[in-house]
Symmetry: C2
Subunit: 316 residues, 2 copies
DNA sequence: GCTCAATATAACTCAAGGTTATGCAAATTG
DNA sequence: CAATTTGCATAACCTTGAGTTATATTGAGC
């Protein structure tokens, strides 16, 4: 026996509202429409859903039992509507985001926290990776959003790149480091100190090699490598090691008052930190919202950095 | 946003079966039909339910979420179908049955037990009453089936009466009773013994009065009254009291070997025990089935009684 | 690049379900 | 008890959704 779910919804409405007229009003339809639908259901079942000859239309046992199912169906349909609404508003769904490890941990993690605070039903699937794998995953549809540095003219086919910060790197050390006090530093000054090396796959590693080549150090001493930002920070704080970090990463750690940057400008290929995403992935409202959130957060971060730098120029 | 439950069912089928073609097969419809229905749903939502450009038709997050609701709807509709089927087959529902207390307890209760054994999902609402209230409740629709004695020509308007047993009463006493051994009893022999009186509203009470009038006893001694069959039996077994009982009630208690009937025929108005029911209530399959069950049980009981009587005639 | 399999589209038909108008019967009321 | 009100059923009509078959289109795999 095949039963139309819509008929059960109508039945539930009529039973719950206490009559055809009220049920019709509740459903926004005409009374004859419901009357006929329920007649059709009764005919199909071959059994009465309502006591016949009773005016305030009282349900039979069967009618009451089927109305219960109708309520479930109505609830499920309403739930579906709500889900669709949430989804369309970017309030639910999953976002797959990845980026370079240090940057994700130091900068993006807190932005994700803010997003999840406002959108508790959104799932964030985070992972780590460098430009090449990020691009590949974006293009294959395995990733929604990636955060990484990229040269301005190297935006891959089918992807959008939204620049958010300058990709400037600095040499970081503990605040009490011998070099930290020096006003004028030459590159050769830093030669004696051991290095904390980024993973070799990291763009930072290339930058580090470039610096050391510039000061003509070939066999630099690596005191520590392979650690996350948390490990790197701990080691930096407890030693005179140096490392190379994106300025934004160092900036985010400014409140800890434990690390600082050497007053020396590093030259490297021009590039920007940016949000990389597949153009097609923006048709998912959550992803879109998440990207906008990141962009907004970065704009605000960039402002803060600018203020801070002006403040340090004008004193403090 | 209004969503058609049927669309969600289709969505669930396609997601679960892994494709439009398989989904169509599972639902017994054509593939283009589903294709268009889902397109309509997508259009209504303004959101894609399936990744576009993927051939084995893979659901998006939203599609998967809505499919879950579709599964619920499908389950509810299937449950409704099953309920309707059970109801039509008389396997579920409620039956309101009533009758005279002694008869219900001694005869009907075990028949109800048998019915419930075979139909665990049927609810039996039992109550007690005498002819007048039973008839009124049947006519008002407050009762489905009643069991009581009725004169053959007194079947009320709108009710059906199905005769099941002769409404013969007997005088009952304990097996060791002084009168139980006597072969030839006169009515006057029973005058000295005290009586257990049925409730005054009971037809048995009228019969008792008639008997006593026949033996010209006006102020008969009542040793006990107002008890259920269980109490009556206990008192009977422990004393030389007499009482009046339908023969069928006594017969049902034959295995206890504690009570017997005096060998004396009681005259009373002709009547039959029968199943009384509103003609309109038989449109409820459970009620119909329950009535048939009772009728069948009674037919078998009548056969047993006949055999037993023949056996007692031919010896034993 | 070709082939195969699966989905989308087209064109058409039919039935379900929407509407308004109206009839009819049960409840209510004086 | 008659009259009125109220609520459900029916009629007639129309729109829309959904079913069909035939066919175009497009990923996927070799």
């Amino acid at each position: 026996m095949q039963i139309d779910p819509n008929h059960l919804i109508i039945l539930a409405a009529v039973v719950d509202e206490g009559g055809l007229t009220q049920g019709a009003a509740a459903l926004g339809r005409s009374q004859p429409s419901l009357s006929r639908s329920l007649s059709a259901l009764e005919a199909r079942l071959g059994l009465p859903l309502f006591e016949k000859g009773r005016r305030p239309l009282i349900a039979t046992e069967l009618g009451a039992a089927l109305a219960a199912q109708g309520r479930m169906i109505r609830a499920a349909a309403a739930e579906a509507s709500m889900q669709a609404g949430l989804y369309a508003g970017g309030k639910t769904g999953a976002v797959r985001v990845a980026g370079t490890p240090v940057f994700m941990d130091a900068v993006i993690a807190s932005m994700i926290a803010g997003f999840q605070q406002a959108n508790p039903n959104v799932r964030i699937d985070q992972s780590y990776g460098y430009a090449d794998t990020l691009i590949r995953d974006l293009q294959s549809g395995a990733l929604d959003v990636a955060l990484c540095p990229l040269p301005p003219d190297a935006v891959p086919e089918g992807l959008a790149f939204d620049e958010i910060l300058q990709g400037r790197n600095v040499i970081a050390c503990r605040i009490g480091h011998p070099l930290a006090r020096k006003k004028t530093l030459r590159l050769s000054d830093i030669a004696p100190y051991p290095w904390i090396a980024p993973p070799t796959a990291s763009p930072l590693y290339q930058d580090l090699k470039a610096i050391l080549a510039e000061i003509e150090v070939d066999d630099f001493r690596v005191s520590f490598s392979g650690g996350s930002i948390s490990a790197v920070r701990t080691v930096l704080e407890g030693s005179d090691s140096l490392t190379i970090l994106p300025y934004s990463v160092l900036f985010m750690m400014r409140h800890h008052k434990s690390l600082t940057a050497l007053d020396i400008r590093i030259r490297h290929a021009p590039r920007h930190l940016g949000i990389l995403s597949a153009k097609s992935s923006s048709d998912r409202p959550v992803v879109r919202r998440f990207q906008r959130h990141l962009a907004h957060e970065f704009k605000s971060l960039a402002r803060t950095i600018t203020h801070q730098q002006q403040a340090s120029v004008w004193g403090v």
